[in-house]
């Protein structure tokens, strides 16, 4: 075993740390406190980060990207999330779908979409799966129930597909330029056999963005509604085979990029938040006094700091192991387990940090923000469906 980072990995980590501390942290709480969810976003930070490679770092070198490995990606996500979890997620959301493009798009599609993505600092990516009546049913489709799962309909008319329906809670919806959209191309069979993935550019006729959701955490990160009213998508934009979207399973080839990356992504992001919480708590304990003595001298404070750090370091070990396993194409339930674990860790650690501040009579808006950001993990990474889905990988 060798935990040493290569010079290149170390260099990405240091660049990310500097950018996060100097550029992201100063705007983090300020953006979080803006009440209109459309206004929390800041294009300047995206452009600055993009120029440093943080938008395109997952695109393979042969297609003009940086071709970073998963270990590097995990390191960078953690560093960025340490300054702001939601801003880190906005960048890594683009990696998630550039992995998908690399893994599944034809060369012609890559030319049409990867090229502009690489050239434009404001070109963000997203993917639309969830719908108002289909959340868990997409993640864990009930066997043989064609009615369950997403309903967005796509019908073929010559060289075009006509899309009708709605998506909700779609990340980057209000700021993205290109989306992967899962739609039903055969409504009479179960989800897995009747769904096709489409590349849908922002300016597609008949496609528009509805409201932007007003979340209690991750406020910078834009989640919106998508509305398709006879939206016309060329057949050339079908990703993979028709009826073969196959919803995040690996049967269509190596989908480690688009799929299992998402598990690593949430765990690595959580690690950054935990690092931040540990740092805040330790600083508080070593500067704030009670009864004339530093908080750090108290046993109850030491025990809370111990718990925060042991959970955080355990998560770090797991995250780096999963990243390394991705790089070595070792497939297991570990990414899912790590993601589920990160939910427990980020929530407990951020809650302990808030508790230490509140106990000391310190109202720290950032401690409150970390707790609200951490609660996002419940439905993305740690609800019972996410946990059972991981368990089922164990039985495969």
């Amino acid at each position: 075993m060798d935990f040493t980072l290569s010079n290149e990995q170390r260099s990405w980590q240091m660049t990310a740390r500097k950018f996060a501390e100097e550029e992201i942290r100063p705007i983090s709480v300020e953006r979080d406190e803006i009440s209109d969810p459309r206004e929390t976003f800041d294009w300047e930070i995206i452009k600055k980060g993009s120029r440093l490679g943080f938008r395109t770092m997952a695109v393979p070198k042969e297609w003009g990207g940086h071709g970073t490995d998963f270990v590097t990606q995990a390191l960078v996500m953690t560093e960025l999330a340490k300054a702001d979890s939601a801003i880190s997620k906005t960048f890594s959301q683009c990696w998630k779908w550039s992995h998908l493009i690399a893994a599944t798009c034809t060369d012609e599609q890559k030319r049409r979409f990867l090229q502009p993505f690489l050239e434009d600092d404001t070109y963000l990516l997203g993917k639309g799966i969830s719908e108002p009546s289909a959340g868990s049913d997409n993640r864990l489709p009930p066997a043989d129930d064609p009615k369950a799962g997403l309903k967005l309909r796509a019908e073929r008319h010559g060289d075009e597909w006509i899309l009708n329906g709605e998506k909700c809670f779609i990340a980057n919806a209000s700021v993205g330029k290109l989306f992967f959209i899962d739609a039903r191309t055969d409504p009479n069979v179960p989800l897995k056999q009747g769904t096709t993935m489409f590349l849908v550019p922002r300016d597609t006729p008949g496609f528009r963005i509805g409201k932007v959701f007003n979340k209690s955490g991750w406020r910078f990160y834009q989640n919106g509604e998508m509305i398709f009213e006879n939206a016309r998508v060329p057949h050339a934009n079908v990703v993979g085979p028709v009826n073969g979207s196959d919803m995040k399973t690996q049967q269509a080839g190596d989908r480690t990029g688009g799929d299992l990356f998402g598990d690593l992504e949430l765990a690595a992001n959580a690690l950054g938040v935990c690092d931040d919480a540990c740092g805040m708590a330790l600083r508080l304990a070593r500067t704030k006094k009670q009864g004339g003595r530093l908080l750090f001298e108290q046993q109850v404070v030491q025990l809370k700091l111990n718990r925060m750090h042991l959970l955080t370091e355990a998560l770090r070990s797991f995250v780096m192991r999963v990243a390394w396993e991705h790089d070595h194409k070792l497939h297991s339930a570990n990414p899912g387990l790590c993601m589920n674990f990160s939910t427990d860790v980020i929530q407990e650690v951020s809650e302990l940090n808030l508790e230490l501040h509140a106990d000391a009579g310190v109202m720290e808006p950032r401690a409150d923000k970390l707790v609200r950001d951490a609660i996002i993990w419940s439905h993305l990474a740690g609800d019972s469906v996410q946990r059972m889905k991981t368990t089922r990988r164990l039985a495969k």
């Binding site: 009440s35 969830s130 009930p142 369950a148 009670q290 003595r293 509140a358 109202m363 609660i375 609800d383």
Partner: protein
């Protein structure tokens, strides 16, 4: 005898308040602007109507013009109100409790004659107790099981000048301050002693500022009082001089109204999750029919029921102090025990309830995130649970801190 059968009167009060909350509070409390935890305006009209129902004067004796209910009934009412709106519940609980303490127990007949009639006549006349001060370290913390006292001197001073007291200083985190017509203020009235003074809101030299809701762990409204050569008549002294009439030796057995309020928040989240779980279909069936969600709902119910038991026990103990003397109840700080258990259990319960809603659980235009936020506020309101556990441990050990004067003499 410990008896959990509510009296017909208690049941009637509960049903009346429950109807009031369903009809008058919930429709307003669930409006989008009230769901924004950071900037929610107080529902003044609801407070007016609640006062007309008698909820502002609930614990005040019948002789004095109130309903004269016991602590358990007050808890039941507070839980019901908090189910609709914790801020309304907090304001009413505070005024009702103080009305009983001040008018029924502590004021002289002369003081009651001056202050009770205007209080009864005005639905918007609330009461407040001003004890905390900026940066005053009241935590036990490092002083656990050690003779040093954690109580620093009260910095707000009151000096006798002829027929008046002249008050100078600052109080903060004063619950109900923006609404109060009368304050009971803890002052330093000379070497080695604090006293309580009654200060009407319109006293010259008193200014009241509302605190930013989002910057405090606090339900209801609170504010800061600044006294600048504020004069009140000598006869506004509450109780004997140099005796903290309202603070006293805190045995951790005060009325568990904050915990009842917390329980109301937990129940709101639970009722929402239970209704949704019977409606939402995923995996081909209503989600309550899935083991995962069924178990989660059961855990929420377990937490809430155990919390209610411990809160009601503490409330019943307030109404039957003799039960400590005859050893029916353990000699423990039961309200403090209820606070630690209930606040942690209910915070977990609201998070679990929100999780049943998936992404909707974190949306600001939905109530679930509000319940989680409100339970988090209860978790960190007032003295911390870490501190409460240390005080419970001192009680378990039978530790008695030497009296303050003795501690000073020993130095």
């Amino acid at each position: 005898m410990y008896n959990l059968q509510l009296s017909p009167e208690q049941l009637e009060i509960r049903d009346t308040v429950r109807d009031f909350v369903t009809e008058e509070v919930k429709p307003l409390a669930l409006r989008p602007e009230r769901l924004e935890a950071r900037t929610r305006p107080l529902l003044s009209d609801v407070l007016d109507k609640a006062s007309q129902l008698g909820l502002r004067t609930l614990a005040l004796s019948e002789d004095a013009g109130g309903a004269g209910v016991d602590t358990l009934t007050s808890c039941i009412v507070t839980e019901e109100l908090a189910l609709g709106d914790p801020d309304v519940a907090a304001v009413l609980a505070r005024t009702s409790t103080l009305a009983h303490a001040l008018f029924d127990r502590l004021m002289t007949p002369e003081q009651t004659a001056r202050f009770l009639p205007p209080f009864l006549a005005d639905d918007r006349y609330h009461l407040a107790l001003a004890q905390l001060e900026p940066d005053r370290d009241a935590a036990l913390g490092i002083h656990y099981h050690r003779p040093e006292t954690s109580e620093a001197d009260v910095k707000t001073t009151a000096v006798r000048a002829g027929d008046a007291w002249v008050i100078n200083g600052v109080k903060d985190r004063v619950a109900n301050a923006p609404l109060a017509g009368l304050f009971a203020v803890e002052v330093n009235s000379g070497p080695g002693g604090t006293s309580m003074l009654l200060v009407p809101r319109d006293a010259a030299g008193l200014s009241v500022r509302e605190s930013d809701h989002s910057r405090h762990f606090h339900h209801g409204v609170c504010g800061e009082l600044v006294f600048t050569d504020c004069q009140v008549p000598a006869e506004n002294l509450l109780g004997p001089e140099r005796e903290d009439a309202l603070g006293g030796a805190d045995a951790g057995r005060d009325a568990p109204l904050d915990q009842a309020l917390n329980l109301g928040i937990g129940r709101a989240a639970y009722e929402a999750a239970l209704a949704y779980a019977q409606l939402r279909v995923q995996g081909g069936r209503r989600i309550i029919e899935h083991q995962a969600i069924g178990t989660k709902l059961a855990e929420i119910a377990v937490r809430l029921e155990v919390a209610r038991t411990v809160i009601w026990q503490a409330a019943w103990a307030c109404d039957h102090p003799e039960a400590f003397a005859d050893r029916s109840l353990p000699d423990l700080p039961l309200t403090r025990i209820a606070k630690v258990y209930a606040s942690e259990a209910i915070y977990h319960a609201t998070k679990d309830a929100a999780e049943c809603f998936g992404a909707m659980g974190v949306m600001r235009d939905m109530p679930l995130q509000k319940y989680v936020h409100d339970a988090l506020v209860c978790l960190h309101a007032g003295a911390s649970n870490s501190d409460a556990k240390l005080r419970i441990a001192e009680a378990l050990a039978g530790y008695r801190r030497p009296a303050r004067s003795a501690a000073l003499a020993a130095e």
